[in-house]
Structures are given as structure tokens and as C-alpha cells.
């Protein structure tokens, strides 16, 4: 990797001051599990690295009936946190499936949310795609079996974060800190489609830090999370879903259905949510909701199978949320 200067601030203000408005010039490092690999492959070549592990909080604290999670919290600590598991079980379920024990011991919540796409063209130095400042996406005419089936174009990456999906489902708000102070951005506005923002996947500016995730009080929710993957470990899901159900008298009052690994952002399936409202959860209603969730999907040349996989993920997440057995 290219040589770089290193800064080790001990507070948020100093950490922000060490960043730069220039893209990929001065970059924060959390666990480094994504960044260092990109640097070794010359995909990302910062001149300066800012260690934010001492500068940002790494704990979970009660916050307005919900919880506030410090961005420097390690994934292992998040996955084993009892209050998180009790209040937001889908977040625990997603966290425990991320990477491997070694990765979870290093990787941070902020890093997981801000990791870059796993697209093999983006990850290969030789392919100068939109994400690297080029003027094309290689996947539509190339190898696209893991690429987007929803919301794609002009870039067809899928969002790589497993945490982003349940965080969006629970209505998380992200606190960002920059040279002009802090701003609070709902998860729904944080992640951006390539049509709005081609080079990066969110609204975080190069001189801003994601410092906290605030989760609202969950209320009486039932949750289900289901990931479909080739390998049971150390892999990114082919498709996955978080489903939250608010029940009333055995019927769904309101539903939240969010899919992952299908689109350039965590993808909220409003058609499925509307379909579920007022229904009793059965195998048939879950399957119909899954069909609704994927109704607008447009596969590329090699990834039509992902539509079926995503349907399975949505259906099983719904059944799990309703407390029913799934494979």
C-alpha cells in the first residue's frame, strides 16, 4: 500500500479537524477491516489515516427510551450486548453474522455502515468504474450475479452493510460530526442511490465522521431477520431481510420490510408493508408479501435468481417475526 501519515486523536473535535474535504485524502480508520484491504489493492490511496477508535464512543447508552450506540463500538460487543438483543433483536442477529470472529473483534459499527461496495469491479484496481471516478459501471455487460436487482443504475452495486438494513427498519438516526458542527440524519436519508450520489453510498462528507447511531424506543414489535448465503460463514448474503411487525388482535397493524444485498441502498419494500397491513400471518400471506416486495425487480443478465432468493428471505423473515418455524 501507499505510505501514509497517521494521526491518533483522543477526542471527536481533533478527529474531525484531522480530516480533509478532499475525497479519500485523509480518511478515518475504525477496525480497518475494509479500508486496509482496499489500500493494499490500491483501490483507495489516502495520504493520511486518522484513527478514530480513541476519539469516538464505543459504548451503548440509554437514549430517549431507545439506545445510542457509539460508532467505535466493536461488532463483537454489539452482537453480545444484552440490551441491544432485548430491544432490537434483528440488529443482534445481523451483527453476529458479519464476517468472522477475527473481523468482529476489530470491525466497528461505524465501519460496517460505511464500508465500501464488495463489487469485484470496484475492488479491482484495473477497473476504473463510477465508484473510482470513472465513467462506467462494468457489471451490466460483465459478471453480475451478485449485483443489484432493484434501484440499480447507473451503478449496480449492492449496499454491503448488514447492519444498515435492521438500522433502517428500526428507524435509526445517525449523528454526523463535521467542521461546522453536528447534524442528525435519519437512516432513510443517509444512504443514497447512485442517481443522486454516484461516487459514494451515503451523505457523509469526506471531512465528517459518523459518531453515533440513535435507535428510537422500539415499542411492541415483533422482529424477524433472515439471510440467504452460499456459505454459512465469512460471506456476504446473496439477499437478506429484516421484518418488523406491530400486531393488533392477531393481525398485522403495521409492518416494516427492508431488504439487503438487492439494491445500492438498504431497500424498503413499501408494497409488501402495505400488503401485510390488516392481514393474519400465514405461509400464504408471507409468500404474497414477498412477491409484492420484488414486483419491481429488474435483473441483470446473470442475477434473476436473486429475485427468488430475496423472496425467500422476505417470506422467512416475516414468518420468523410471527414466531413461526422456518428452514
Amino acid at each position: 500500500m501507499k505510505a501514509f501519515a497517521y494521526v491518533n486523536p483522543t477526542n471527536e473535535k481533533d478527529a474531525v479537524a484531522a480530516l480533509s474535504p478532499q475525497l479519500e485524502h485523509s480518511m478515518p480508520i475504525g477496525g480497518g477491516q475494509d479500508l486496509l484491504a482496499r489500500m493494499k489493492d490500491y483501490v483507495t490511496q489516502p495520504d493520511r489515516i486518522v484513527n478514530v477508535k480513541s476519539a469516538l464512543e464505543s459504548t451503548v447508552t440509554p437514549f430517549q427510551g431507545g439506545l445510542r450506540i457509539g460508532a467505535a463500538m466493536k461488532m463483537v460487543d454489539l452482537s453480545e450486548h444484552a440490551e441491544v438483543a432485548r430491544m432490537y433483536p434483528a440488529i443482534s442477529a445481523a451483527a453476529i453474522e458479519v464476517g468472522t470472529p477475527q473481523i468482529r473483534n476489530q470491525a466497528t459499527v461505524g465501519g460496517n455502515l460505511n464500508q465500501r461496495p464488495r463489487c469485484w469491479y470496484y475492488r479491482n484496481e484495473e477497473f476504473v468504474c463510477f465508484k473510482k471516478g470513472g465513467n462506467t459501471c462494468f457489471s451490466p455487460a460483465g459478471e453480475n450475479q451478485f449485483h443489484a436487482i432493484l434501484g440499480g443504475g447507473p451503478s449496480f452495486i449492492v449496499h454491503p452493510s448488514s447492519l444498515a438494513v435492521p438500522m433502517l427498519a428500526y428507524g435509526a438516526t445517525f449523528r454526523l460530526s463535521g467542521p461546522k458542527g453536528e447534524r442528525l440524519v435519519p437512516a432513510a436519508d443517509y444512504f443514497t442511490l447512485p442517481t443522486k450520489n454516484l461516487r459514494t453510498e451515503n451523505v457523509l462528507a469526506p471531512d465528517e465522521l459518523l459518531t453515533h447511531v440513535m435507535l428510537p424506543a422500539p415499542g411492541e414489535l415483533r422482529s424477524g431477520h433472515y439471510e440467504v448465503r452460499y456459505k454459512t460463514s465469512h460471506d456476504w448474503p446473496i439477499a437478506f431481510a429484516t421484518v418488523l411487525l406491530s400486531m393488533q388482535g392477531g393481525k398485522v397493524r403495521t409492518a416494516r420490510v427492508v431488504m439487503g444485498a438487492v439494491a445500492p441502498v438498504p431497500w424498503r419494500a413499501r408494497a409488501a408493508e402495505q400488503f401485510l397491513a390488516g392481514k393474519t400471518i400465514t405461509e400464504a400471506t408471507a409468500a404474497a408479501a414477498a412477491d409484492a416486495a420484488l414486483r419491481d425487480a429488474h435483473p441483470l443478465s446473470q442475477n434473476a435468481y436473486k429475485i427468488e432468493v430475496a423472496k425467500v428471505a422476505v417470506k422467512r423473515a416475516i414468518l420468523r417475526a410471527a414466531g413461526m418455524q422456518t428452514a
Partner: protein
Amino acid sequence: MATRDDSPDGMKFNRRNFLKSTGVVGLAETVAAPGDAAAQSEPAAVGPGDVPVRLNVNGRPIDLMIEPRVTLLDALRTRANLTGNKRGCDRGTCGACTMLVDGRTVYSCSTLAIEVQGKQIRTVDGLANGDQLHPVQQAFCDRDALMCGFCTPGFIMASVGLLEKHPNATPEQIRKGLDGNICRCGTFPRIFEAVSSVKGGQRG
């Protein structure tokens, strides 16, 4: 165009690097003292040339002059002669570089040495007590849990980390706990057998 440096330890010396490093070392030493950093309004950057890095490895301090980009794995293998842990993929995928940092398993290839100063680092080199193998090492020998052996140091460190966290790990916990390590020879059944055979009390 950035200067390429793909030497195994990330520290190929050429005139340009050498001049860069000598220019920055003086600065690095002044900010390395904890008191000085706090006195400044904003912490100063060190590097990109060599900076002093002190690592605590297997209970002993090791002082190195290395660039901030040097990984823990390369620092120990190429500068401290601790070659027990192996460099396999160098991308945090294979697990051959697994070490313990403050009791937790990490991919040392995906950890910057400069970031683990002040932490307790354990490598496979420090596991045995003289000629007395660690119980996990002994179990790998007894169960013949290796073929080529390249992954073994990483598997052993991952197993030690797992058993220190879960002294009576279930088969499911062992599988899940070791899924950050890959054996291309496919000795997984023997590895699981070896780790399962280590009894709680002997695992420390």
C-alpha cells in the same frame, strides 16, 4: 502516480523513501511523548516515514522503527523474527496470521502495528513454555490435526482465543469460533476433534 511498494514487509528502501523517513523521524519523536500531544491544539501526524513503535509481544517489549503502514504481522515477522504466524492471503480472509490482542483474536495482517501499542499481543511463538507445548498445540499433534501446516499457527491461536472465552465450548461454538480460519488441506474434522479434546482446566 504513487510510488509502488509491494515488498513483503511494505518497507522497500529506496532513496525517496529514505529521504522521506529521515525527514520525519525527528517530528515523530517529539509527538510520541504523551504529554506533548495533549498540549497541542490538534494531534500531529506521524509518518509516512519510520516512526518509533513499541509493541508488547508475548510479555516482552519490542521497540521498532517502522512506517505507519506496516501491519502487525509484517512488523513481527520481518523486524522481530517472530515468524510463527504466517502470511497467507494478507487480506483478512485465511486466518493464518491470527494473533491475540488483549485476549481477542485478530487478523494481524489487517491490523496496523502502530495501532496496537500498549496492548498485550500474543503470537504462536510465545505459546509453549520452553519445551512444554500449550495444551492446544499438544492436542493438534496428538490428533494429527494438520497436513501442510501453514494454517496451523493461526488455527491454534484462534482455538486458544476461543477456549479462553468459552472454556467448555460446544461443537457448535467451536465451528462458529473457528470460522475465520481456512485449511486448504481440509483437516477440519481433525482440528475440531483436537480442540474438543482439550479439557476446560487445561485450556489456559
